[in-house]
């Protein structure tokens, strides 16, 4: 994908000056955060010449301000930060970026301050930013990079990632995308298309036209390829789509429905279910040599497989006990063992990118839950309860889960909707993820840049 390739970091011109014996601000993300850190995002400054160019090329009056809005929005939605109102800022952006007057910023209760500068240099957008600890009156981080001007929203996401990482000690998840199924039309005749957007809901693109039913898209590790289920010519099969070229191909030559695809963590295989004579088992196909391997062989429904990040294990759901439950096995299909033993039925296990947890959907007494459990099935925690929700997908840092939720229709069968939601691993900070249309089956990409 061009968009991904062009972004080059030119230099890290200041490394954060780490002085010992200084306690800088820190944000703890392992708990629900009731006191988000007050942060001031000063609009990125720009000179008059660059301002004209931005106006011409991007039709934006104030690019610096627009980028700072992207950052503010990201920080706010994370639930960990409280971006302060710009109206209260006393210092001008260009001066603040050179040397903040910390008294002014602490007066408005800011604990962290982000400043920056944007300019055009040889037709490229050059961005500098700094993160300041207001109370300690110190610089915590300073970075500069260049990109093409049209990519300015990603600049905001990358800055947010750097700030998040510096303040929490964990990688961010802002320079990422979501692929999902866009839904329109009445409940009995939904038209579904593959759609992709930035994590914050901007830059939506539709990848299929809606002529055939499409379901369950998932990224490969490099975010260039997507595997999904398509009903093209009324033959439900797993497909592969190259996002850059738009080329689609069917995966393997199976004499029946293939579904529930995901990539292996190295991106070399697709794992999926194949239904033969009414029975669904799990198979893999190597994308290089096209060799198909059967992983499970059981008269029950085995589906929704997901690899551990090291590729050594697979979690899946099976109704071999009579009801849908979550199982674990080695990646060759040996050592199958059930791990879900709570009340209710369990499905859609998805391994956390950190490796320590499995997210799942649970149905109990008519309610659907999104939850997490350890990989031995212990330590179950239910994060959210609703009439219908499923299909958890992890943010690349394993701290946030996105899923979709459907509403109950009224007595006339009206009022149906499907929307994307996100929730922190803590169970706090549940948020609607805004999409242009109704949406389902979200899959979170890995970080586009590192």
């Amino acid at each position: 994908m061009k968009i991904i390739k062009f972004l080059t970091f030119i230099c890290i011109f200041f490394l954060s000056i780490t002085s010992n014996s200084f306690s800088l601000i820190e944000v703890d993300i392992t708990r629900g955060n009731l006191n988000p850190l007050p942060v001031a995002v000063s609009p990125l400054s720009q000179n008059n010449e660059s301002k004209k160019i931005f106006k011409n090329q991007l039709n934006l009056e104030d690019l610096g301000l627009e980028i700072s809005k992207v950052i503010e929005n990201n920080l706010k939605k994370s639930g960990l930060f409280n971006p302060l109102s710009r109206d209260a800022f006393l210092q001008k952006p260009d001066i603040a970026h050179l040397k903040p007057r910390f008294e002014d910023w602490s007066l408005i209760k800011a604990q962290a301050l982000i400043t920056g500068k944007v300019l055009i240099e040889n037709d490229r957008l050059k961005v500098e930013f700094r993160l300041w600890d207001v109370l300690a009156a110190r610089e915590m981080l300073a970075l500069a990079f260049t990109t093409v001007p049209s990519n300015w929203r990603r600049v905001g996401h990358i800055i947010t990632d750097k700030v998040y990482e510096r303040l929490t000690g964990e990688k961010g998840y802002f320079d990422t995308r979501i692929i999902y199924v866009s839904e329109e039309g009445p409940k009995t005749q939904r038209v579904k298309k593959l759609a992709i957007m930035d994590q914050d809901g901007f830059n939506t693109k539709y990848l299929t036209l809606g002529n055939e039913l499409v379901l369950t898209p998932r990224f490969n590790p490099t975010n260039q390829m997507v595997t999904y289920l398509s009903y093209f010519r009324n033959l439900p099969r797993v497909y592969l789509l190259d996002i850059e070229t738009g080329v689609q191909e069917v995966v393997g030559d199976f004499p029946g429905m293939t579904f529930a695809p995901r990539f292996s963590p190295d991106g070399k295989k697709i794992i999926m279910s194949f239904a033969k004579d009414g029975n669904s088992d799990i198979y893999t196909m190597d994308l290089e040599n096209r060799i198909v391997e059967r992983i499970t062989n059981h008269p029950s429904i085995d589906t929704s497989p997901s690899y551990s990040p090291d590729g050594k294990y697979i979690t899946f759901n099976s109704d071999r006990s009579g009801y849908q439950q979550i199982y674990l096995m080695k990646s060759d299909g040996s050592n199958v063992k059930r791990i879900s033993f709570g009340n209710g039925i369990y499905g859609t296990p998805v391994w956390s990118p950190r490796g320590d947890l499995i997210a799942f959907t649970k149905l109990h007494k008519g309610k659907f839950y999104i939850g997490v459990m350890r990989t031995d099935g212990k330590g179950e925690r239910l994060l959210t309860e609703n009439f219908y929700q499923e299909a958890p997908s992890w943010a690349p840092n394993g701290r946030v889960i996105i899923f979709y939720r459907e509403t109950k229709t009224d007595k006339k069968g009206e009022g149906f909707s499907a929307k994307l939601w996100s929730i922190d691993l803590t169970g706090y900070n549940e948020r609607l993820v805004e999409t242009e249309t109704d949406a389902s089956d979200p899959s979170w990409s890995s970080l586009l840049s590192n």
Partner: protein
């Protein structure tokens, strides 16, 4: 004295809980009452949404939640379909398997497949050749009834036999 007091209290509690149980039972029966005639043992037995494969031959059969077992009524319907197909040897069929909305998408695709195959297998035991029958699962993607209640769900748990040519 104390003992009698405890006994008295216990008695009151029992009487109270009986009253509550009675209320609860009564409430359930009135709510379900209307649907009783159309759902038996969690399987839809009404005629709403049912079309015809041919004159006098119903096109669909219904299933219990999470099940692919054919009921007596379903087997009767499928025998009628088989009889008609034996007389109309030029007709091939597609059996579409469906699930209700109360399950995860991927599991429901597998369940729809299982249901369609249950119907296919039964047609085959009544002499219809496998190469005349194809199956497709739509999981929960194509409900006939958009309702979010047990009656609607029972109509959506179905396999439908349609002419392929």
């Amino acid at each position: 004295m104390i003992l009698s007091k405890i006994l008295k209290n216990t008695f009151l509690v029992i009487v109270f809980s009986l009253a509550v149980t009675a209320c609860a039972t009564k409430k359930t029966t009135t709510e379900v009452g209307k649907q009783d005639t159309q759902i038996q043992g969690d399987v839809y037995v009404g005629s709403d949404t049912v079309g015809e494969l041919a004159k006098g031959v119903p096109d669909r059969v219904f299933f219990a939640t999470n099940e692919s077992i054919l009921t007596t009524k379903s087997r009767d319907t499928l025998r009628k379909q088989a009889a008609w197909l034996r007389e109309n040897t030029n007709v091939n069929v597609v059996i579409e398997g469906h699930a209700d909305e109360r399950g995860t998408r991927e599991y429901n695709l597998a369940l729809g497949e299982r249901r369609a195959n249950a119907a296919k297998d039964y047609l085959m035991t009544y002499g219809i050749s496998a190469d005349r029958i194809s199956v497709i699962s739509y999981g929960k993607e194509r409900p006939v009834d958009p309702g979010s209640n047990p009656l609607s769900w029972s109509k959506n748990r179905r396999s439908v036999t349609v002419k392929a040519n």
